[in-house]
């Protein structure tokens, strides 16, 4: 068997294992985001949204749908990798991979693909739920799909790095609670940054989630607070840096080898 085939099978094995893992516990992984987002649609979209009126030419529920879809992708891609990889460390079955002839980049690709799979499945479920509340218009299929995928890659990588450094369950809860959630909520999911004072608009530009939410919104609605080309460059840049950093951590054995 060629070395390429060996790597491909190893990659498929990690991905299959990861997908089966979250599929088995779908009540914990797929159902909660579906319920939470439904509540968002009902409360913010329907009950409060109807009193808010139009935003950037769209009803409030139409405006927040892209952000809510992407928020579910972000949270679930991140959560999948951080919890799964941390468990492999905690129960020491990371050693199954370390002893085997699996290159670091295959390990990373396998876990990131697992995170993407959960992020994209949950994102698709949330998109389906949104159709019960509003008609979804798609300005650019390719851009929408591209941002959907890139966002899940980026946050899977971030989850992986968190898991590498984590030494306890607290460590895997701190980042989502104190970093990821605030960044997402302040990343233009529920409002246009045009509503903010000039100073806070500038501060918001330092938030990477803003670029993803706005590019995704542009893909769906055709409106964005920022230049989509710059946003794509920033997203690709983050992915490149996080990939490089993750591979460096793996090659040095940080958190997984003595």
């Amino acid at each position: 068997m060629s070395a390429g085939n060996v790597k491909l099978i190893a990659y498929q094995t990690i991905v299959t294992k990861e997908v089966l893992r979250f599929a088995r516990i779908w009540v914990q992984t797929i159902l909660p985001p579906a319920i939470t987002t439904t509540l968002y649609f009902i409360i913010f979209g329907k009950l409060i949204g109807e009193r808010i009126g139009m935003m950037e030419g769209y009803s409030y529920i139409e405006f927040i749908v892209p952000g809510l879809i992407l928020m579910s992708v972000i949270q679930n891609s991140y959560a999948n990798v951080v919890s799964s990889f941390f468990s492999t460390k905690l129960q020491h079955y990371i050693e199954e991979l370390l002893i085997a002839p699996v290159p670091n980049w295959i390990v990373l690709a396998g876990y990131v693909t697992g995170g993407m799979a959960r992020g994209l499945i949950v994102g698709t479920v949330v998109t389906g739920i949104s159709l019960f509340f509003t008609d979804l218009t798609i300005n650019s299929y390719s851009l929408t799909l591209l941002v959907f995928v890139l966002t899940s890659i980026l946050f899977s990588l971030a989850g992986f790095i968190n898991a590498v450094y984590a030494k306890s369950f607290d460590d895997i809860a701190i980042v989502p609670t104190f970093v990821l959630t605030p960044l997402t909520y302040l990343g233009g999911v529920f409002y246009s940054i045009q509503l903010l004072p000039e100073f806070w608009q500038q501060v918001s530009l330092a938030n990477p989630v803003l670029y993803m939410v706005n590019t995704f919104r542009y893909g769906l609605l055709g409106v964005s607070d920022i230049d989509v080309r710059i946003a794509l460059v920033i997203i690709f840049g983050f992915i490149a840096v996080l990939t490089w950093y993750s591979l460096r951590l793996l090659s040095r054995g940080v958190g997984i080898k003595e």
């Binding site: 060996v6 990690i14 085997a100 080898k257």
Partner: protein, 310 residues
């Protein structure tokens, strides 16, 4: 060809502890090799480095001629490890643990299931294939780790205390199994605290202490260095004092039990003759201590005294 060659292997942990101080080791292809040492001697560190679970500080390791640094994947594909601690996903069904492990070695899923079945049947775990690993007994978990280590058919199998905590019946069955796979060509390196296990299974031995190899030789050669042996004799009639036999040191440890120390050059026949002349019949006899255990204790004590002197 050597199955394993270790040259000048050093490991210093971040806290400054020097676990390995330049060990050299050569294990021949097809050997059943014992790596023994007291707790904290460096055995598990050496094994972790060979299995790529720990980064070495310096030195070289090669598996069947493949350098672990330069031909990493080829070297890794020839090793199977049964570690001391359970290191599988407790929530996964037994068969999936094996199928996944096979997949990491590039074995396609269908073939991986066949290999898993083969390994699980060999280790008498096939009936438990759909059971989550956490529900297995301690002995079954140990056998699961052996089955997993064999699923990619490694040429070198490293067993780090594989029979720790299992009952004597399962231990004997595992010995039989290890002998069988060794006779089929798999090189085995065994660490154990049961020295009778090492004595009965292994042909060659290395003793490691304080991060250094203090002895590396064949088991028969090592045992031949034993100058005295201690036996326990169960005798026919009760005694009040130990019999006095010229050249032998006997001690009464029970009214019908005597301990005797026999020098290597002394014959057992003359001991029995002398006892018979005094009207004492020996009903049964056993070693007071495992022979390897005595040598092990002597070598480790010697190493400790050398360490303190230096």
């Amino acid at each position: 060809m050597s199955a394993l060659v270790i040259e000048n292997l050093h490991k210093t942990y971040r806290n400054g502890f020097e676990a390995l101080k330049g060990i050299n080791l050569n294990v021949a292809e097809g050997d059943f090799f014992a790596l023994l040492g007291p707790n904290g001697a460096g055995k598990s560190t050496a094994i972790s480095i060979i299995a790529s679970l720990t980064n070495k500080t310096a030195g070289q390791v090669s598996i069947y001629g493949k350098d672990l640094d330069r031909q990493k994947n080829q070297a890794k594909s020839m090793i199977g490890l049964v570690p001391q601690e359970f290191n599988f996903n407790m929530w996964e069904p037994v068969v999936e643990i094996l199928v996944n492990q096979a997949g990491y070695y590039g074995i396609p899923r269908k073939a991986a299931f066949q290999r898993a079945e083969e390994s699980l049947r060999q280790l008498d775990l096939w009936d438990k294939r759909h059971t989550q690993a956490r529900w297995l007994s301690g002995g079954m978990k140990r056998r699961l780790m052996i089955a997993r280590a064999l699923v990619h058919r490694p040429k070198l199998l490293i067993l780090d205390e594989p029979t720790a905590g299992v009952d004597i019946e399962i231990r004997r069955a595992m010995w039989q199994f290890m002998k069988q796979i060794n006779s089929q060509g798999t090189t085995i390196i065994l660490t154990t605290h049961y020295l009778e296990e090492a004595e009965s299974l292994c042909r060659n031995i290395a003793i490691i202490d304080h991060g250094r190899i203090v002895e590396q030789t064949s088991m028969s050669h090592l045992l031949s260095q034993l100058n005295t042996e201690h036996f326990v004799l169960d005798i026919s009639k009760p005694l009040t004092t130990a019999p006095e036999l010229p050249g032998y040191n006997l001690q009464l440890v029970g009214d019908k039990t005597v301990e005797v120390t026999v020098q290597r050059e002394q014959s057992m026949n003359s001991l029995f003759e002398s006892l018979t002349q005094q009207g004492i019949a020996v009903m049964s006899m056993r070693n007071k201590q495992n022979r390897l255990e005595q040598l092990f204790i002597d070598l480790v004590a010697q190493s400790k005294s050398e360490e303190q002197t230096s």
